[in-house]
Subunit: 224 residues, 2 copies
């Protein structure tokens, strides 16, 4: 798969290297082309580096690791038509982690900005350090990576890319659910920084096995 990494900060660099190692064609980009070139060399496996526009033209899937609107990052947005754009962003951390309630998600703002692209929310609920455990031993910890999109095929593409590097993809449905998923991003950053659990703190959904009997006399399973 042809993957472009826009904004080669901690997250983009790490996930790009992991995908390159798994055989994908990865193109790193950055405001400074020289920085992207250096990361491409670090990644090896034939990874390339260059401008944001070049990465977008090259890629089928774009890992978008910057907060600016796509229309401000690329010279033209028609190059994004029908491409998968993974938004991994959270809002800046406010003083004392006093996050505002989320009425509209970053992912939805991106979708309104570039309606010809398929926006997929993912990768916003753990710190870069967690990638250092990928793909092994990360797989054994069953860490959730929450995903939502209005395009089913784009979502499935990202779900596969998530699973390849050792995370548990959790399908959260349509893109408007990014409001809740970004809320999880705020919460885990509060845990990591505000409650000092550190960069290896993660938040995950798990399904426990059903109880063999309902001895406490509750309703029957099947809550909805």
């Amino acid at each position: 798969m042809k993957i472009g990494i826009i904004g080669s900060g901690n997250m983009g660099r790490s996930v790009g290297i992991l995908w390159a190692e798994r055989g994908h064609e990865v193109f790193f980009s950055s405001r400074e082309a020289a920085k992207a070139q250096a990361i491409a060399e670090l990644a090896g496996h034939g990874a390339r580096g260059g401008t944001n526009d070049a990465a977008a033209a090259f890629a089928d899937v774009i890992f978008y690791g910057v907060r600016e609107l796509p229309s401000k990052v690329f010279s033209a947005t028609d190059v994004l038509a029908s491409k998968v754009l993974i938004d991994c962003n959270n809002s800046p951390i406010p003083e004392d982690f006093a996050f505002e309630p989320i009425a509209e998600s970053i992912a939805e703002k991106f979708a309104a900005d570039v309606p010809n692209a398929h926006i997929v929310k993912a990768f916003n609920t753990f710190a870069q350090e967690v990638f250092e455990l990928s793909p092994d031993p990360l797989g054994q910890y069953q860490v959730s990576c929450f995903v939502c999109s209005d395009n089913e095929q784009a979502k499935q593409t990202v779900i596969n890319l998530i699973a390849e590097i050792g995370f548990n993809p959790v399908d959260c449905g349509e893109l408007r659910r990014a409001r809740m998923v970004e809320g999880l991003g705020d919460f885990i950053r509060f845990m990591i920084g505000g409650r000092k659990l550190g960069s290896y703190a993660t938040i995950s959904v798990h399904q426990l096995p059903q109880a063999k009997e309902q001895r406490l006399g509750g309703r029957k399973p099947g809550y909805a």
Copy 2:
């Protein structure tokens, strides 16, 4: 410990029985005293049943499982002075799980309503069915129970009660953090019902072991 259970629905009944089994003096109450009596008999271990007022007068710790403001549930609120009141509530589920952003939490509204009580948010991020796995094998799954309060001693009391029945208490700090914790309650109910993961779906925070090396070239651990 003397524990009152206000609103003996699924959650209250289950957690009350578990605490009774662990040697606490539990007083179940309900709008219908006969219902509370029946649950007390089911619980055994010397559990009692009666009116909401009687339960509040009896207890040092109150598990508050109803959405109405305490000032509307009890004849007088001076009986709550310096008592621990555990708020396990979430807002009603809206159509299609389209939750509103949370600007003020239920827990904070309760605290404003009965400022003489020590409000502790907890037990709002899993369904009643999960109690059926308590205390064993629940302990092995390391399911988080998120806790916050403005009173440290009250919070510690609840943390101990949580750990006794097999959950992992996660200290989320002050009561205003209940906004985020109730957001987790909304999200897991969306997963349970909206995404059909079922009543044994849980949401938890885990700390992974640190990576042995930073081979992906990220910043050093210590995110804050």
